[in-house]
Amino acid sequence: MSKPTDPIADGLRRGWKVAGGSHAPLPAKVACDVAIVGSGAGGGITAELLAKAGLHVVIVEEGPLKSSSDFRQLESDAYPTLYQESAARKTRDKAINILQGRCVGGSTTVNWTSSFRTPVATLDYWRQHFGLAEFGNDTLAPYFEQAERRLSIGPWLTPPNENNDLLRRGAARLGIAAASIQRNVKGCWNLGSCGLGCPTNAKQSMLVTTVPAALEQGATLLVQTRAERFELANGRVKALLCAPAGQAGPTIRIVARHFILAGGAINSPAVLLRSQAPDPHGRLGVRTFLHPVVMSAAQMPGKVEGWQGAPQSIYTDHFLETHPIDGAIGYKLEAPPLHPVIFASTVSGHGQEQSDLLRQFPSTHVLLALLRDGFHEESPGGIVRLRGDGTPELDYPLTGFVMEGARRALLSMAEIQFAAGARQVVPVHEMARPYGNWDEARDAIAAFPMKPLLTKVVSAHVMGGCGLAGRPELGVTRPDGVHWQLDNLSIHDGSLFPTSIGANPQLSIYGIANRLAQGLARRLGAGEAILA
């Protein structure tokens, strides 16, 4: 294989309009048709469509423009450069660590490529509880299909890596159905470094698809530029005020016909909070969901080498489908990629006991459970608030209801791992030790105090906070994506979701943003556009 070309470097040489950071100086004033905050899943899809429809688009991105030439498959590069808060963003009580992208392409630049359409049960719940009659599976299907075609989302035909195959084998032994995960890749080298920025441009993230397409159409990209707040008057946004990232006080004023927030959950509600946007029903920032994740490690008799190969290729929804969606909390099981930094910070304990586990890295298999939050009154999610310095903070109380789900998930994962042949299983909980058989693990997990900070909980899926709703008292955003109280502001990102998705959310964001952006282009009187 030859060295991959860098489409970003090529585009910059051809004169793409990029300012901020080490690129052209940031202008003090900008006028455009549409200003988009964020270049991730929602912002990227929207930018391509609106630029193709003939609108002058400006994209504002807080993170840097990095590309395959920069991606060296090193955590020490990737976390400080490509992730929010150096991959150490935490909930208010520090009990949940949150992974979110902060770079051109947003989380799509660093995600693990898992692509699922929004589950039908989730859409049914939205229609019943949030007045979202237009969010039926059949209505959304063409928009998902277009996104799938655009981003090369399809079956992954290479055999799963051992870390994923252990999930398949363990589940099969217990009679639990597992299936393959579709991925957004083209010519993937199966390196396993998706979370560190794809060094071969195989991952069809926004970085290498929609953002370049928008730039080719003449869109402007402002990088390392932080959206501070909107200037509001008479139920409309007058301007967006921005600042170079890391500097205090806005110095850039963007005037547009229409504004789009796509900074991701936590950040999008924060822009509205800083703008003192109208919120007559107290819906802004509430119902923020995380798919809280708990994990179980296992030492296998053979090599696992969870760092190599497609990070996520097998999943089971058995524990989602065997419960009513509004009953006891269900969970999706997947296997995560394993690299040294994330592994060392996840393996609990200290000293010789921790070292004994760290030294078994090559034979360590890890499963994770994504808890489907937001479908029960005891799972109301979290609330985004602002700190004194204007930065956002998510207060997400881990309720007893959620943590009992976490206990069941630890049990399910340990049972599957022993069925797959594990020598020992270590649930990721501060009171756990290695257990040599299922009976021992089951009894121990049953007795764990399932408390925050004792149970390791992480999240890579932040959703909600600007929820869609058919009536203003139920949410922030109308079914067409426009803010209920601000006529020329739309929200096109994961913050739209009125519950969690119950699956890795990238394709849900692509499909829904695709539909909302096409509708917006028509309302703005622009040409018709569809994703290529």
Binding site: R72, D93, K94, S193, P340, Q354, L358, R359, F361
Partner: protein, 170 residues
């Protein structure tokens, strides 16, 4: 103390200092002008030798060098955190560097420089399972930062049996 956040650490610090009889004015900041101060380095050095016991090189000279590398990478890690997190960490480390803070928050009687690995590990274990949220948060912060900073360096990967990223064509 349930759900106490680090943002309330200043109050916690005042309480601890009152208990310990210390003086707020004597606290040395742990993070200043983008660098760990001697106080901050002292805490990470000694918690580091306990957290990483069994993973650090056995040879004395190599171990000293490995701990120096840990501190440099810890500093780089903290420098990349947002200001609010740096501020909270600085408060935590400053407190741990004082005698009353070390005794109350970490539960460690001897000075950091005099404490054995076993003594520091006992203190860490008590923080880890403490009923006080603040002590648990402090433990988690030290655990995650130490593990992340130490194993960010390819020179440490032999402990993990990790070969490094797959090579790409030059």
């Amino acid at each position: 103390m349930h759900r106490r956040s680090w943002l309330k650490l200043s109050l916690g610090a005042a309480v601890v200092l009152a208990v310990g009889g210390g003086a707020v004015a004597l606290i040395e900041p742990a993070w200043r002008e983008g660098r760990l101060t001697a106080a901050g380095r002292r805490v990470f050095m000694h918690t580091g030798r306990a957290f990483l016991d069994g993973s650090l090189p056995i040879d004395n000279a190599q171990r000293t060098q490995a701990l120096a590398g840990l501190l440099d990478r810890t500093e780089a890690l903290i420098a990349a955190l947002p200001t609010h997190a740096q501020r909270e960490l600085s408060q935590l480390l400053s407190l741990l560097a004082t005698t009353p803070g070390r005794r109350t928050l970490a539960g460690l009687a001897p000075e950091w420089d005099d404490a054995t690995v076993a003594e520091i590990r006992r203190a860490l274990q008590a923080m880890r399972l403490s009923a006080l949220t603040l002590r648990q948060q402090a433990y988690q912060a030290l655990h995650d930062i130490t593990g992340s900073a130490y194993f960010a360096d390819p020179a440490t990967w032999s402990v993990l049996g990790y070969p490094g990223p797959a090579p790409l064509p030059a």
